[in-house]
């Protein structure tokens, strides 16, 4: 029981948003070759203005994207071709959702909300690397917060001013 408690605490601690200022993913690690619940935490608006639109770009290697609808927000799924054909539980897929847009809502600067996607991380993604989901928040009067910078080789996300939310990829979980 103690072990379980400690593991739960550790999981919670790890799951905590450590990059407090930015839009982040709540679950920071996920194994490849399985589905992943991407919870985008949006802690603030653009320079004090409320957020009206949240856009998430789906990176290459992520398929079977299903967004969670949100009351008061209109959900849009933008489809496109994938760079290659992926295997989804035996079915080859070469096109699907490339961008998700929640629009029409209003999340004030002093409010917090989460935007959720359920995705499948294909085995083509490399374990050990970090997968980045660029997120753009759009506010009134053309203001925007763009969490779209991806660290280059040797750079860490902490060096960037506008880092994209990322998830660390782990080895395929055994036996599912």
């Amino acid at each position: 029981m103690f072990k379980t408690t400690i593991t739960t605490i550790a999981a919670l601690a790890l799951g905590a948003g450590s990059a407090f200022a930015h839009a982040t993913l709540q679950l920071k690690e996920a194994p490849v070759g399985s589905s992943y619940r991407a919870i985008f935490q949006v802690p603030h608006g653009c320079e004090g203005k409320p957020t009206n639109v949240v856009r998430v770009q789906i990176p290459e290697g992520v398929i079977a994207v299903k967004p969670q609808p949100k009351a008061g927000w209109t959900l849009e799924k933008i489809k496109g071709a994938y760079a290659k054909s992926y295997d989804y539980y035996g079915t080859p897929t070469n096109e699907g959702v490339k961008e998700i847009i929640w629009s029409g809502g209003s999340l004030a600067d002093d409010e917090y909300d989460e935007f959720v996607l359920r995705v499948y991380l294909t085995k083509d993604l490399k374990a050990g690397e970090t997968l980045y989901f660029p997120v753009v928040q759009e506010c009134p009067d053309g203001a925007a917060e763009r969490w779209i910078e991806i660290p280059a080789e040797g750079q860490s996300a902490d060096d960037l001013e506008l880092p994209a939310p990322g998830v660390k990829l782990l080895e395929t979980a055994g036996g599912h």
């Binding site: 029981m1 919670l12 948003g17 930015h22 802690p43 770009q57 660029p134 779209i148």
Partner: protein
């Protein structure tokens, strides 16, 4: 199963709750600036009583600094945090000029945020005076003296020989001193090369035998002038010797033309645009001065020593001079207009003020000339004895005024005309920044502290065209403690992204960053350190 104690369970629960609390707190944002008073880029009439910075959440300041117009930074330590606004008391007795309010604050999560805004009191800072105070005054004095001697030799000497040959050819010779003036001027022109070299290299008066200095002097456009001018002087000397022969006449004309040409080859006026008008204007101005001024001494001499020739010469002079003066005034007026772009420059620039003094002296001179022409000339023609003496005295006064005008005009050597100032000021800084995703051709106009226009042409990495959604300029100066100032650029018709109304408050090395938003999800940052002149 392990034996569980209630204490252990409670302990685990408390730790879990504490971590949950941390999670809840951690969901807070970093602060962002929502308002600034005075607003960024504002010009206020009086020094503000408070400076306020409003944020999206309560903050605590790490650094609050006000950069003053003279470049010094004053730390602001009197402030009050009211809810989410920092109200800062500025230092007392702020003068007019451009100020930078630079701040670095820490939001409750510990994440620091910084930025800078600019405001001006009264009017934005004008350009500081040019750093020309290192000029060597002994060299300058020598250059000025040499120039005055050159003018005297050219206008009185060469002009005098011309007049002596054409207006008052006399068997009894001519005014003495003309040849002496020409010889001295000849030597002065040789010395001018050396002095010009000293000035060009910024050296004090050192060895005359240093060849580097002579080479530097010749290398300037003045070098052309000092090749033609001594030739003109020599011709005049020979003409003076030959006196009254046809050869002397033609030589004197050649000398006169050469003298005018020499002046047109260098100097501020000759290089004004349009050059095809400016250079001839200088040439005509110089020639007509020589014809007019040169006639003064021979006429005075002739009227005293050879009255018949003097009277004849005076008649010829009176007929000739209105034309000469008309051309002189036209050419001079034209040059004044193209050198001094706007009437305000007459009072604000050194060049303009010299011009005003010269014009004042000219009015005096013309007054005297008028008196000569309409009051004193006729009695002389009629042979009145006293009249001649009066005229000679009047000519002497004219000569003095003319020499004063030469002395004043010689100071122009040291004052760039407003036209040239405008060109120097507008020198832009161009640079090319390259990254593997994009590149930018950036121009900052002018490359000096104050109001600038930043312009960038954005291309793809291999010179392929790129159509970014947004371009932002960010300027920061870590050395002076100025946090990043952001300005959004606007796409112009020529494809350049331009940020106007951008004020770079200080000279020095600034870090310029260009944020190029290639698409909604792709941002490229190009960075370079640029040098802003005072």
């Amino acid at each position: 199963m392990r034996h569980r104690t209630p204490v252990r369970t409670a302990f685990a629960a408390i730790v879990a709750i504490m971590i949950w609390c941390c999670l809840a707190v951690a969901a807070m944002a970093h602060a962002s600036l929502t308002a600034v008073v005075p607003a960024d880029g504002a010009v206020v009439g009086a020094p503000p009583r408070t400076l306020s910075l409003s944020f999206s959440e309560p903050v605590s300041p790490l650094v609050l600094r006000l950069v003053l117009p003279d470049g010094q930074a004053a730390d602001l330590d009197r402030f009050v945090l009211r809810d989410r606004t920092l109200e800062i008391t500025p230092p007392a007795a702020l003068g007019s000029g451009t100020y930078v309010l630079t701040w670095r604050v820490i939001s409750e999560d510990g994440h620091p945020v910084g930025g800078s805004t600019i405001f001006s009191i009264g009017a934005p800072s004008a350009a500081p005076p040019s750093a020309d105070e290192t000029a060597d005054w002994s060299v300058r004095g020598a250059i000025w003296t040499a120039r005055v001697v050159l003018y005297v030799g050219l206008f009185f000497g060469i002009g005098g020989v011309f007049a002596a040959c054409w207006l008052t050819p006399s068997e009894r010779g001519g005014p003495r001193g003309l040849s002496a003036a020409v010889v001295i001027a000849f030597l002065a022109s040789a010395l001018s090369v050396w002095l010009q070299g000293l000035d060009a290299l910024g050296l004090p008066i050192t060895s005359m035998l240093d060849p580097a200095v002579w080479r530097a002097g010749f290398a300037t456009s003045f070098g052309m002038t000092v090749i033609v001018l001594p030739a003109a002087f020599l011709l005049a000397l020979v003409a003076g010797r030959l006196a009254s022969t046809p050869l002397a006449r033609s030589l004197s004309v050649t000398a006169l033309v050469a003298g005018g040409l020499a002046l047109a080859l260098s100097g501020h006026a000759s290089t004004a645009a349009p050059q095809w008008l400016a250079r001839p204007a200088v040439f005509l101005h110089a020639m007509t001065i020589a014809i007019w001024v040169g006639a003064l001494l021979p006429l005075a001499w002739a009227l005293r020593h050879d009255p018949a020739v003097g009277r004849a010469g005076l008649q010829r002079f009176s007929r000739l001079i209105p034309w000469a003066v008309a051309i002189l005034v036209l050419a001079g007026g034209f040059l004044a207009v193209i050198q001094v772009h706007e009437p305000a420059s007459l009072l604000t620039t050194a060049y303009g003020r010299v011009l005003l003094v010269k014009l004042g002296l000219l009015i005096l001179l013309f007054g005297l000339v008028g008196v000569n022409r309409w009051i004193l000339t006729k009695p002389v023609a009629e042979g009145e004895g006293n009249a001649t003496r009066r005229l000679v005295r009047s000519i002497a006064v004219e000569t003095l005024i003319v020499v004063t005008i030469f002395a004043v005009a010689a100071t122009w050597r040291f004052t760039p005309p407003p036209r040239a100032l405008a060109v120097a000021v507008a020198q832009p800084l161009s640079t090319h920044i390259h990254s593997d995703k994009a590149m930018a051709e950036v121009t900052i106009t002018p490359a000096k502290a104050g109001l600038v226009v930043a312009s960038a042409f954005i291309l793809g990495p291999d010179f392929t065209p790129l159509d970014p959604k947004e371009v932002t300029f960010v300027f920061s100066n870590a050395e002076a403690g100025v946090e990043p100032m952001r300005r959004k650029a606007v796409l112009g018709d020529d494809g350049n992204w331009r940020a106007e109304a951008l004020v770079i408050p200080l000279a020095g090395k600034w870090t310029m960053r260009i944020n190029v938003l290639i698409s909604d999800f792709e941002l490229v940052r190009l960075e370079e350190v640029i040098d802003i002149k005072p």
